[in-house]
Amino acid sequence: MTWTSDELMTVNAARALAGARTCFVGIGLPSAAANLARRTIEPGLVLIYESGTLGSKPSRLPLSIGDGELADTADAVVSVPEIFNYWLQAGRIDVGFLGAAQVDRYANVNTTVIDRGPGRPEGRLPGAGGAPEIAASCGKVLLVLRHSPRNLVGELDFVTTVGHGDGPGSRARLGLPGAGPVAVITDLGIMRPDPETAELTLTDVHPGTTAGQAVAATGWPLAVAGDLRVTEPPTEAELTALRRLAQGAPDA
């Protein structure tokens, strides 16, 4: 079988949910990955959407986080204030899964505005949504986005959501209860915070990708792990499930 780099990204993002019990699912790429995980590696994964659903089991990939099927298939539907206060803030969720527009070397995230240079107005992004508190309160955080120097930048134009702040100890000083980002999964590979420096380091590349490609597509001098790994190629089962999802086909 052949696959696209986006498929590699989503398959690896789904795999990163192995062992998770509960996942707070951000809009977009995270939703595809989390739903793929439920069909492959972690069938019991409890999906929680900020629209107020606990334990959604959609048979098709929802376009938005508020598609009716998310509510219809949920164990419980609660109000939006409740999902943020009683469920997210309370620290009940294992993994927060987020997309991003800009990410820096400490896995901080900007989804607010882009500086387009002197004399030009800021470029407007959608804004924070649930991200600041998802990244603060979940046991750990996964980020998924496409690898490019526009997305992975030396300096954020705006800090919407804190990952590892300005490095080791930053989360503790800010009083952020969760462990923060543990992996950034892209279409080229996977970056993980270095245990010493908290700086994102390339630990895996996808089959057919080189470390050099990832370094070139990163806006800061990306460190590469000494024991750089290559991710396992997608299995036929993973690709089949993903393509069914992407086509909006119901569960087999």
Binding site: S79, N85, A136
Partner: protein, 270 residues
């Protein structure tokens, strides 16, 4: 007690230029029909409040109805940007748009404070984020028991909240279910409440997961079948995902947008 009125009369009676207006519905039950009526009646200078501005506020902003937006996530869910919102913010077209920008958790708690008639709410939020630097409605409080510093957000109390619900009875009691979002809080936080409904029935039979707003908390109920389109009303309609996808092209271009609004919204008034 809620009066059952036509949508035109209800909007004319309850929504005034210059008002702070919250139109809620978290991807579900978004009150598009009421927004279109507001556009037809040329209500303007609004402070629009909504967690997820969505296509409904893209339309109001693009038509120049808003001077300020209070929000937490301004995209076309699953599709991309809200081009009219971006054009207003980036280029001031058709008029500049002031922003007060929060996280979802902050906005949700601002409504909770509003519904509780408290001046603020407390959350563990915004830590390390640049968001507080751009908002006058984010501050801090210190826990008097533990000394921990927490975020405080100012209550939202709209002049008028507009929501869409599945049903009302003839006394004006309102029932909604499915994703109930933050509608109860938005309604209870407001001075005036307008509810559009799919159906007016003799009796509200209990439904799983339903929220009921008693008639005495609502000012007007207006019948507006399919009034959430392209959003949906669980049990009545389904989300028109195709519309959301096609909105991207319509809204990218100022003229195409104005033409679409003219043909699909304003013409009804002629």
């Amino acid at each position: 007690m809620a009066e059952i009125r036509s949508l035109r009369d209800a909007v004319a009676g309850l929504v005034h230029s210059g008002d702070t207006v919250a139109m809620e519905g978290f991807t579900h039950l978004i009150p598009f029909a009421a927004a279109h009526e507001m556009i037809r009646q040329r209500v303007t200078d609004l402070t629009l409040v909504r967690m997820t501005p969505d296509v409904i506020y893209d339309q109001l902003i693009g038509m120049g109805a808003a001077r300020k937006l209070v929000f937490s996530w301004g995209g076309n869910p699953g599709v991309g940007s809200l081009h009219r919102f971006r054009d207003a913010v980036e280029n001031g077209w058709p008029r500049p748009l002031e922003l007060d920008e929060h996280s979802h958790a902050g906005m949700a708690n601002r409504y909770v404070a509003g519904a509780s008639r408290l001046p603020f709410a407390v959350l563990r939020g915004y830590r390390g984020s640049d968001l507080p630097s751009r908002s006058a409605t984010i501050s801090t409080v210190v826990c008097p028991f533990t000394g921990e510093e927490l975020a405080a957000v100012a209550a939202i109390n709209p002049d008028v909240t507009v929501i869409h619900a599945q049903r009302a009875d003839r006394d004006g009691n309102v029932q909604l279910w499915g994703l109930v979002g933050v509608q109860k809080e938005a309604a209870l936080a407001a001075s005036r409440v307008l509810v559009t409904v799919e159906e007016i029935v003799d009796d509200l039979t209990p439904a799983p997961g339903a929220v009921v707003l008693p008639s005495w908390t609502v000012d007007a109920v207006a019948l507006a079948p399919n009034g959430a389109h392209p959003s949906y009303a669980a049990g009545y309609t389904v989300r028109d995902n195709g519309f959301y996808q096609s909105w991207d092209a319509v809204s990218r271009d100022r003229d195409a947008f104005l033409r679409w609004m003219d043909e699909n919204v304003l013409e009804e008034a002629r």
